[in-house]
């Protein structure tokens, strides 16, 4: 039972990761793939932040009278990761817009058919 | 005095939660887009306002209460505006409201 209580956070995060992974590999629409990647990235953030939490601790802002703080190092890493995920999502969506203008469709199978015809 | 304030904030928080729940049920049950929008706009603004009021009573007279007051001011302006923008967009997209055609 303590196994379950100690690890349920990680298991649900893995379910979310696999949902994102499935969206990337199984759906042919390019925007859906980018959204799947976004879901995957956000669930990885939740994994890191759950590892940083200390029971009975509080936010890592130093204040008189509090002795236990949550670990600030994963917070810093995830802050960087969130901004990088935005950068990749924006660039990916710009590429999708351009692909739509070049091929007329954003369905992966149709694009492959058009590429093989040339 | 503390007990009275506690009970007051509990009433506000629970009332806000009940209104949000009613708004959610309205979104699921109403038949048409415009009626659903009506349910969301009123119940969400009122629910969020009551929750913020309950938190303000808990905060007492401090900087936290001032910040919550600013949030309340922001919510009562932007909530109805967002719903208005949605309704205008739907009208422009030629979504017709459901009208009862039977003459009774």
């Amino acid at each position: 039972m303590s196994e379950l209580l100690g690890h349920y956070n990680y298991w649900i995060v893995i379910v979310l990761m696999m949902t994102g992974f499935y969206t990337v590999i199984a759906r042919p629409n390019l925007i859906k793939k980018i959204i799947g990647l976004f879901i995957f990235q956000t669930s990885v953030f939740i994994l890191f932040i759950s590892m940083a939490k200390i029971e009975g601790g509080t936010a890592p802002i130093i204040e008189a009278g509090i002795s236990v703080y949550s670990n600030p190092l994963p917070h810093v890493l995830i802050l960087t990761a969130i901004v990088v995920s935005l950068a990749t999502t924006a660039l990916g969506l710009a590429l999708v817009v351009r692909i739509r203008q070049a091929y007329g469709t954003i369905d992966e199978d149709d694009i492959q058919v058009q590429d093989e015809e040339d | 005095m503390n007990l009275v304030l506690d009970i007051l904030s509990w009433v506000c928080l629970l009332g806000g939660a009940i209104f949000l729940l009613i708004g959610a049920i309205g979104v699921l049950r109403f038949p048409d887009f415009y009626t659903r929008l009506h349910a969301v706009s009123i119940c969400d603004t009122l629910g969020a306002g009551l929750v913020l009021l309950g938190l303000m009573v808990q905060g007492g007279l401090s900087l936290v209460t001032v910040k919550l007051l600013l949030m309340f001011y922001f919510m009562i302006f932007t909530g109805p505006t967002a719903v208005h923008a949605l309704a205008e967009a739907a009208l422009q997209g030629k979504l017709k409201p459901l009208v009862n055609d039977r003459e009774s």
Binding site: F21, I62, L73, V76 | -
Partner: protein, 324 residues
């Protein structure tokens, strides 16, 4: 009781994730992604990560949604039905998930104070920050001072994304929007936008400079700053927004931010210290740290705001009529 909120939020996240996979209407999927980000931000608050929650709410639920909606408006509205059977992807996903779950059995329990990640460096950061840097928010001190190199790389990544979108989508300068008859419908939105635009910019400045004492900092402030201008562009049209902030100014701002950051590093080298060693910037080391952190957060905020606006202008310029 905290565990209850945790479980409920994670359950809602799972439901939203499954709904995103199954739904075919791309506009609904974009809004569901926004809800997913907002739920993650609430989960981060429950997990005591307040800076991360602010960033995720501003970036994930704010800017990403706008970009997704813009991309969906420029491409198709509806996803076609998948033509291959989902059997092979399902097998791959289930196998990978099972392997990962087998891997997490060895991990430390959630909330365990004795887990290895809390030893070594993190304890010294928490211990040294009040004395060496004098800033209450430890996340800001680690981000800006102890790990300043990583943040310089991050600002460069944002700059590269802005340059990439500029190269892919370009921009189109539009003339001032005329006052057509259809503008009567936008009266409420325009009044509210004019009312809240200065308040949003003020809030962005507050978050920028309050990042030392509470959650905040350059990234969140830059995003909120850009959101104010995007609100203005949505209510008044792209032509009017480009008269407020022209493209040339955004190009310059984008580069100036990164330049400020790198200049702080070079200045500390010229004053005798190493690259990005802030304590040589003033006589008192703690004042030097404060000065260094303030300057680099300013650089970060300027670059992030400029890049967000450049990306928005790029997407909206592709629309033929230009009043998205």
């Amino acid at each position: 009781m905290e565990y209850l909120i945790d479980i409920v939020l994670l359950g809602l996240l799972m439901i939203t994730g499954f709904a995103i996979v199954r739904m075919r209407s791309l506009l609904a999927v974009a809004m569901l992604t926004s809800i997913y980000s907002l739920l993650s931000a609430s989960l981060f608050v429950v997990l005591d990560a307040v800076d991360v929650a602010l960033t995720e709410a501003a970036i994930g639920a704010g800017i990403s949604t706008i970009l997704l909606l813009a991309a969906v408006a420029l491409t198709t509205d509806e996803e076609q039905a998948p033509r291959h059977t989902p059997l092979l992807p399902l097998i791959v996903v289930i196998t990978t998930g099972a392997a990962l779950i087998y891997g997490t059995v060895d991990m430390p329990h959630y909330g365990d104070p004795a887990s290895p990640v809390h030893r070594h460096v993190a304890a010294t950061y928490l211990h040294d920050t009040p004395g060496e840097i004098g800033v209450p928010n430890v996340v800001t001190s680690v981000l800006a001072s102890y790990r300043g190199y990583d943040t310089l790389g991050e600002v460069t990544v944002i700059f590269t994304a802005g340059a990439g979108v500029l190269a892919l989508l370009g921009y189109r300068t539009r003339r001032r929007n005329s006052r057509g008859p259809g503008n009567r419908k936008l009266v409420v939105l325009r009044v509210i936008a004019k009312l809240f635009f200065p308040l949003i910019l003020l809030f962005a400045l507050y978050i920028q400079f309050h990042g030392d004492y509470g959650p905040g900092g350059g990234f969140q402030a830059g995003v909120i700053f850009a959101t104010g201008f995007i609100l203005y562009a949505l209510a008044f049209g792209l032509g009017n927004a480009q008269r407020v902030i022209p493209h040339r100014m955004l190009h310059i701002m984008m580069a100036v931010g990164v330049l400020i950051y790198a200049s702080v590093g070079i200045e500390s080298m010229l004053l005798g210290g190493k690259f990005l060693e802030y304590r040589v910037l003033a006589e008192d080391p703690v004042t030097g740290q404060h000065l260094g952190i303030m300057l680099i957060e300013l650089g970060v905020g300027i670059t992030v705001a400029a890049v967000m606006l450049i990306i928005y202008y790029g997407f909206v310029s592709q629309q033929r009529s230009g009043d998205m």
